[in-house]
């Protein structure tokens, strides 16, 4: 199955623009024309926060049983808010919700579950030291605490839908995808038949995504209603029957997936035509900038995080780093930037004059003082890269506040830099003195990336630079990275969306469980090669 599907998806450009045949869709026509009572109908929903932020305005959607509905929209378009109202976390200001044609009021997640509505949130809420079954029955007061019976039921649910799950496995031993499975089984165990999944594929490998989709198709066959919140267009096309699109809190349209394509959906989602291509200029005389040899890193708990990893980062090139989450990406970047203790191996910086210096045992300040212009856009933007409660000026100062003699800081230059970043990257903010945590995710990232490239780096490390960003902001970030590449900067891009990695990176380093699984050429490889190297050392036969 995977081979065949792989072939179809390989050319993404084509996949995006050519209208897909509707073979896989299961006669959605009849289902809605049937005039059946929808499983859920949300009608004229409006939700306002703090009396001014309009998260949803007069949104109406419905979903049938036996249907998979995608809810598509940019960040802040109100997808999650809308679904939170369905799952009892918020109450709508006005509008009605009907379940099976009956008007209901959902005042808590418990109410929602009683109506058969279960939501799987983006961040899993599991107790690490408990087994899958224990987590699943946690909080069920009505039931007698009978682990054996519960395990049996969990097994039965897994078999029915094709989950792979060991009910006795402890959560701390699980991969992200297994944890997600536990969350899904948890709502199924509570007899939910309307399932809402918030960006379920964000953390999965292509292979895991396929397994999830297979399960979702089984649920659909079982006449359940499934709603997926997403902004990945190819997945919308692959899995759902219908897609409802939200923009700025308003409903802009509902499309039958078999009759649309990525371009049309993007245009509706963004509200204007958007070019979906990512540029990839040819690298101009790349030369080694950072040499990593036999790098071994252990976490504070003594776990092996990186094991004998060697590769070179070149100037004028974007090096992609692929891997399942937590395969050592974070440790790798932190080791290079002097934040992570290295057990063995070497990291050397080779200057433009060919001089080689080792970065081992140096902290970020030492590295800066050695004249190595190293910039790092960390994964945790507000917890590490920026200070959320400080304004743009003070955040710009983070790198440069030591400049100048004397005891006092001079805010004139940071203010000029902040103004420049704000204007050139079109940061949307009420003003330079607004705390950056109040900005939207995309603008926060612009501030961070803007600051890091303002120092004219020779090496730019980025971790999940577009995570959670909407399409527009993502493309701004891709463009910025390409600009840096053309300036001759050695750019490292740790990413999770393989489609983007494959379009952006010149070379791709694949990590698997802390080991180097392989180095691929970004122009000639494909998603499935990278995916299988992510799960198995050196690729081999995945699965």
């Amino acid at each position: 199955m995977s081979g065949k599907r792989g072939g179809r998806i390989r050319d993404r450009r084509q996949f995006r623009t050519v209208q897909r045949d509707g073979r896989r869709r299961e006669k959605p026509e009849e289902k809605t024309l049937d005039n059946k009572v929808p499983a859920v109908r949300m009608c004229g929903i409006t939700k306002t926060f703090f009396g001014k932020v309009r998260a949803n305005h007069n949104v109406s959607i419905d979903i049938q049983r036996g249907e998979i509905l995608s809810l598509l929209g940019e960040n802040g378009s109100g997808k999650t808010t809308l679904m939170n109202m369905l799952s009892g976390i918020y109450c709508p200001d006005c509008g009605t919700i009907e379940v099976d044609g009956r008007e209901v009021s959902i005042r808590s997640p418990k109410d929602a579950l009683n109506l058969g509505i279960g939501m799987i949130h983006q961040h899993y809420k599991l107790v690490d030291v408990m087994t899958a079954t224990q987590n699943i029955i946690l909080g069920l007061k009505e039931e007698k605490y009978d682990l054996k019976a519960a395990s049996a039921r969990v097994r039965e649910i897994c078999e029915r839908y094709g989950f792979e799950l060991n009910p006795e496995q402890k959560v701390y031993d699980m991969t992200v995808s297994q944890k997600q499975t536990v969350e899904i089984v948890k709502v199924l165990y509570r007899k939910a038949d309307i399932l809402i999944l918030d960006e379920p594929t964000a953390v999965l490998t292509p292979q895991e995504t396929e397994k999830l989709f297979a399960v979702l198709r089984n649920m659909k066959k079982d006449n359940k209603a499934v709603i997926i919140i997403t902004h990945k267009l190819n997945e919308v096309l692959e899995i759902s029957d219908r897609v409802d699109i939200l923009r700025a809190g308003e409903f802009v349209g509902s499309l039958r997936t078999s009759e649309t394509n990525a371009q049309e959906m993007t245009d509706m989602m963004v509200g204007r035509a958007v070019a979906l291509n990512i540029n990839r200029p040819e690298p101009k005389n790349p030369e080694p900038r950072i040499e990593i040899s036999n790098l071994t890193v252990r976490s504070e708990e003594g776990l092996l995080k990186l094991d004998d990893v060697s590769f070179t980062i070149n100037s004028g090139e974007i090096l992609g780093i692929a891997g399942i989450s937590n395969s050592g990406q974070k440790e790798l970047l932190e080791a290079i930037s002097g934040l992570q203790k290295v057990e063995k191996g070497d990291i050397s910086y080779i200057g433009e004059d060919g001089k080689k210096v080792s970065l081992i045992g140096k902290d970020p300040l030492d590295i800066q003082r050695m004249g190595v212009a190293l910039s790092f856009v960390p994964e945790d933007r507000l917890g590490m890269g920026l200070v959320g409660n400080m304004d743009m000026v003070d955040n710009m100062m983070l790198r440069s506040f030591r400049a100048g003699r004397g005891l006092f800081v001079n805010r004139n230059r940071p203010r000029a830099v902040a103004t420049h970043v704000k204007d050139s990257l079109e940061v949307v903010t009420p003003g330079l003195s607004t705390p950056v945590r109040r900005l939207s995710g995309g603008n926060v990232q612009k501030v961070l990336v803007g600051r890091e490239i303002e120092t004219a780096p020779s090496v730019l490390l980025t971790a999940y630079a577009v995570r959670g960003l909407d399409i527009n902001s993502s493309y701004v970030i891709y463009d910025l990275m390409n600009q840096q590449k053309e300036r001759g900067v050695a750019v490292v891009y740790v990413g999770e969306d393989l489609d983007v990695l494959l379009e952006l990176a010149d070379r791709i380093v694949v990590l698997c469980g802390g080991k180097l699984s392989g180095i691929l050429d970004g122009r000639s490889t494909n998603k499935y090669e990278v995916g299988s190297m992510m799960t198995t050392l050196g690729g081999g036969e995945a699965r």
């Binding site: 709508p92 970020p364 800066q368 790092f376 590490m384 506040f401």
Partner: protein, 362 residues
């Protein structure tokens, strides 16, 4: 349809709140606190509430002397609060202000007792100042050092240091007690005034007030304009960010606590050398803890702390006055103070959150 759609009330975190609304909420809380105090006093003693309010006012403003005492109280409380501010901005939960003040009280007293008359008075005063500041600084830096080295819990550590300091003071009171058997030290160098800080004009408390004012300005500049102040703010917001930009977090902990302790040392010095001229175990009188509240309520802004320290000093004076005027014991004034503090801390909830009631359908 007349169905209940939303819960009757729910709590919402506030996005931003203007300082005007903050003080409105606090003013309401104070009004409620005073009303409750009046009610409690009335119910327990049968006294007239209006006269209770009057007494609270009179506690601070009835005479010039009382106003000076209030000013002195405000100043000492303000100085200790200024000491708390940098540490708390750094999210270093220093509740050891009490101990840092007490240890410098001990340092000042010992200089006065042991060196008084043996060296020139001016030199004695200089030594006294150095000793008090150093004692406070070291006392505060010990927990910071342990935290930076072994990641110990600073809250427990500073709390324990309070007891150590107080017990040391108790021990030396017995050693130096005079007259013998009184269990007290009495006024140190009463006749010679060795080691007493100079009095400005005829105002006994003026020196303390001036020092507090100067410190307020200095701490404000340190926290908002200096590189150190910026560093400690970054450390407080996120240690990870601090490491990311190469700030040595442990060093900032120790450095800031040295400063905190030094300012507490000045408070101890002023109390012994400037106004009280004696040493008792209750000299700090819980102000090391009250200062935490003063600093917190003003969001660590030194200028705001002038108001919050004034407010708390005024209210506690008033509570004490009510207890004495109406012939009640000290416990009653504690009850009144507690009511006031309860309302003041409680109202912070309404500053952080808002309660939304269900809108009735039209």
């Amino acid at each position: 349809m007349n169905k209940k759609k939303a819960p009757f009330a729910h709590i919402v975190k506030r996005q931003a709140i203007s300082w005007k609304s903050v003080w409105m909420i606090r003013a309401l809380a104070i009004a409620a606190a005073i009303a409750t105090c009046a009610l409690v006093t009335f119910l327990l003693t049968g006294d007239d509430p209006i006269s209770i309010f009057k007494t609270i006012w009179e506690g601070s403003f009835a005479s010039e002397r009382r106003m000076w005492v209030l000013l002195q109280n405000v100043s000492i409380l303000l100085i200790i609060s200024l000491a708390m501010a940098p540490a708390f901005r750094m999210r270093f939960w220093n509740i050891g202000g009490e101990g840092q003040v007490m240890i410098s009280v001990l340092a000042t007293s010992s200089c006065m007792i042991m060196l008084g008359g043996k060296i020139p008075n001016a030199l004695l005063i200089v030594i006294e100042i150095v000793a008090a500041v150093a004692a406070g600084a070291v006392w505060a830096a010990i927990p910071a050092f342990f935290k930076s080295r072994w990641n110990t819990n600073e809250t427990l550590f500073t709390l324990m240091m309070n007891y150590v300091a107080t017990q040391l003071v108790a021990y030396f009171i017995i050693i130096w007690e005079s007259p013998r058997g009184s269990g007290k030290i009495g006024i140190i160098n009463q006749s010679t005034q060795y080691g007493w800080l100079p009095q400005i004009g005829e105002y006994k408390y003026l020196l303390t007030v001036i020092v507090a004012a100067v410190l307020t300005v200095l701490v404000y500049i340190y926290m908002n304009k200096s590189k150190h102040g910026y560093e400690l703010a970054v450390v407080g917001e996120s240690e990870r960010t601090a490491r990311y930009i190469g700030i040595k977090v442990g060093r900032v902990f120790v450095r800031t606590m040295l400063l905190s302790g030094a300012i507490c040392g000045i408070a101890g010095l002023l109390m012994v050398g400037g106004t009280d001229h004696t040493m008792t175990t209750t000299l700090a009188g819980g102000r090391g803890f009250t200062a935490v509240m003063v600093a917190w309520m003003a969001k660590f802004n030194p200028v705001g702390m002038i108001f919050t320290s004034f407010l708390l000093a005024f209210l506690s004076k008033g509570a004490g006055e009510v207890a004495t005027q109406f012939g009640l014991n000290q416990s009653f004034s504690d009850i009144l103070s507690s009511i006031i503090i309860f309302f003041l801390i409680g109202c912070e909830f309404f500053i952080q959150y808002r309660i939304m009631f269900r809108k009735e359908a039209k």
